[in-house]
């Protein structure tokens, strides 16, 4: 199949169906509504179930029920709905139920603007959990990440979040579904799935969903000491460009990282710029910053938000070696390549 032009939201929904997503529960919210609309159109034709829930809250709890029944299941939302899903996401994490959640980020509260944004980086639920969080920068990557998310969720029995900014959801670009990542093999069988005890060997009733013999505290301890370190080892993704020789390193994800590419081209011959682009926000690629060369004087962190969110992880990774500068939304408008360029030049001049 050749490259097809698709809207980001539709590209992610199609990738999910190709990954074997059997059910989708969701609620309309801009800028992700094309995802439920695509599933509503396609899933009934392709043997799956689409159900529009009464709220994001209910949708996520339906996801939990379907996941507990062994299905590959997904929901999608934007920030105002994501926070409503978090209690359930936390509960699923702590009872080890897999699912895929796509968050198409927008700016402000539900009665705010619908502008694209990167404002949900820090959004976490209760209970102290971690979930693999992908951050696509183009539609091919968005489709591949959603596709792979189902395998990762099943492999670790842990939900996976795909955090796309509104531009990824709304824009159109070519996607090639022949280039999806290979299917993971030897995924653990879902012996815990709810189908009535009669469907299970020995008719043993299922209750806690935790690995054999584990209570909730044991499961948390296991996650902290074994599961999460294993995920960090196996699933950390990052794109690193020219950091060995850079004067200034840009650190950005999603659409902000695409803007950085414009700036790197534009400032060729003026400042040597490198870039670190996390493709997973958790696990965050801290080790990538060890590759930064001795000439580097500063890190600039463009984000489509006001105060800066990922910049805190950049500071942790920097460990005081380089100052980290935020550049993001202004009073009137959001981040642009020109604003990044101006910030880089200002930092560069300050260093001379």
């Amino acid at each position: 199949m050749a490259k097809v032009l698709m809207k980001g939201n539709e590209a992610m929904a199609e990738a999910a169906i190709q990954a074997g997503c059997q059910a989708f529960f969701g609620y309309p919210i801009t800028p992700q509504s094309e995802i439920p609309e695509y599933f509503a159109r396609e899933l009934p034709k392709r043997g799956g179930l689409f159900l529009q829930a009464e709220s994001e809250l209910a949708a996520m709890n339906m996801v939990m029920g379907a996941s507990a029944s062994g299905a590959r299941v997904m929901t999608s939302t934007s920030g105002p709905g994501y926070c409503l899903k978090l209690e359930t996401l936390a509960a699923m994490t702590l009872t080890r139920l897999p699912a895929v959640v796509v968050v198409v980020m927008r700016s402000g509260p539900a009665f705010g603007t619908m502008k694209a944004a990167q404002e949900d980086y820090r959004m976490n639920g209760n209970g102290g959990y971690k979930v693999v969080t992908f951050a696509p920068s183009n539609l091919q990557e968005a489709a591949e990440m959603v596709y792979e998310a189902f395998d990762i969720a099943d492999q670790y029995r842990n939900p996976v979040v795909v955090m796309a900014d509104g531009m990824i959801g709304q824009m159109m670009e070519g996607v090639d579904y022949d280039k999806m990542p290979p299917k993971r093999t030897a995924l653990p069988p879902k012996t815990w799935a709810l189908h009535g005890r009669g469907a299970r060997a020995g008719k043993k009733p299922q209750l806690l969903f935790l690995p054999d013999g584990m209570g909730h505290y044991g499961a948390k301890h296991y996650c902290e000491t074994q599961l999460y370190p294993e995920i960090i080892r196996n699933e950390t993704r990052v794109e690193i460009t020219d950091v060995e020789d850079a004067d200034i390193v840009l650190a950005a994800y999603g659409t902000a990282a695409r803007m950085c590419k414009n700036v790197i081209r534009e400032l060729q011959g003026t400042v040597r710029l490198g870039m670190i682009r996390p493709k997973t926000l958790w696990p965050f690629p801290y080790e990538a910053f060890e590759q930064i060369g001795p000439k580097c004087k500063a890190i600039v962190v463009p984000e489509i938000n006001i105060i800066g969110q990922m910049i805190d992880d950049v500071r942790i990774a920097s460990a005081g070696r380089w100052p980290a500068h935020h550049v993001g939304d202004s009073q009137n408008d959001f981040l642009t390549p020109n604003r990044i360029r101006d910030k880089v030049l200002a930092v560069w001049e300050g260093l001379q």
Binding site: A58, G65, P205
Partner: protein, 245 residues
């Protein structure tokens, strides 16, 4: 020697942890007995709630899952849609179903979700220590209505059966009580019929059970049963609100 009475086979034998005089134990037992009578223990999935009602998951010898506060109908929806040939029931208290989970129960009924809900109404929040519920009677003292529920301040108690029976997707709605042996027998019959409703694919089914909470009511078990008759039933009339053919 004939066996005239035994523990329902759908219970796993774990000792009940409900307070002395609490009628959750009687209700749990009726649910299990109904499952036994219908022969569906291998195919039943129990969805527990947050609150004392959530303990049911410990006692049932069926597949079970806990859901978050008020979300049992949404959770059950996900399970039932993936298991259309299995029997899925929620067991929820009044704080869970009639307060934090009103959206989920109304919308599950509205969709005609083919699940069965056992709604235990004891006019208070039991597990959190006797706070005011939407079902708390006017004048009833609780830890968050220490001077008695004032209707002018926080409304009159909500009647869920009456509300839900106006919804087309609801196929079976009945209110019962477990304060007398006769009422317990009627409760068992209603619960069985609510499962039957699901098995026949008729739509959403709910049985509200008026239940005693002596601990939080500050009454002896016997006085608590009397209070169901004297105070609860006059406000929450027993009977069938909706039935199927």
């Amino acid at each position: 020697m004939a066996i005239v009475y035994e523990r329902p086979k759908s219970l796993n034998g774990a000792p009940f942890t409900y307070c002395p005089g609490c009628t959750h134990g009687i209700i749990t037992q009726q649910v299990a007995a109904a499952i036994d009578e219908l022969g569906i223990v291998d195919d039943t999935i129990c969805v527990g709630c947050v609150g004392c009602g959530g303990y049911i998951a410990w006692f049932m010898d069926t597949d079970a899952i806990y859901s978050l506060h008020g979300r049992a109908p949404a959770n059950a929806t996900g399970i039932k849609r993936m298991n259309p040939d299995k029997v899925v029931f929620t067991y929820q208290g009044d704080g869970d179903l009639a307060s934090i989970g009103t959206a989920e129960i109304v919308q599950a009924a509205h969709r005609g979700e083919k699940i069965t809900t056992i709604f235990v109404n004891n006019a208070t929040y039991g597990m959190t220590g006797g706070q005011m519920a939407p079902t708390t009677l006017v004048g009833q003292k609780t830890t968050t209505s220490p001077y008695g529920r004032d209707a002018a301040h926080c409304g009159k108690p909500i009647r869920m059966c009456e509300l839900l029976s106006t919804i087309d997707g609801a196929a079976f709605i009945q209110r019962v009580a477990v304060n007398t042996p006769g009422n317990v027998r009627k409760a068992r019959a209603a619960i069985k019929r609510a499962f039957q409703c699901q098995i026949e694919g008729k739509g959403f089914a709910l049985v509200e059970v008026l239940s005693a909470c002596p601990t939080n009511w500050g009454k002896t078990p016997a006085a608590a049963l009397d209070w169901i008759a004297s105070d609860m039933i006059p406000y929450y009339p027993l009977g069938n609100f909706k039935d199927f053919q």
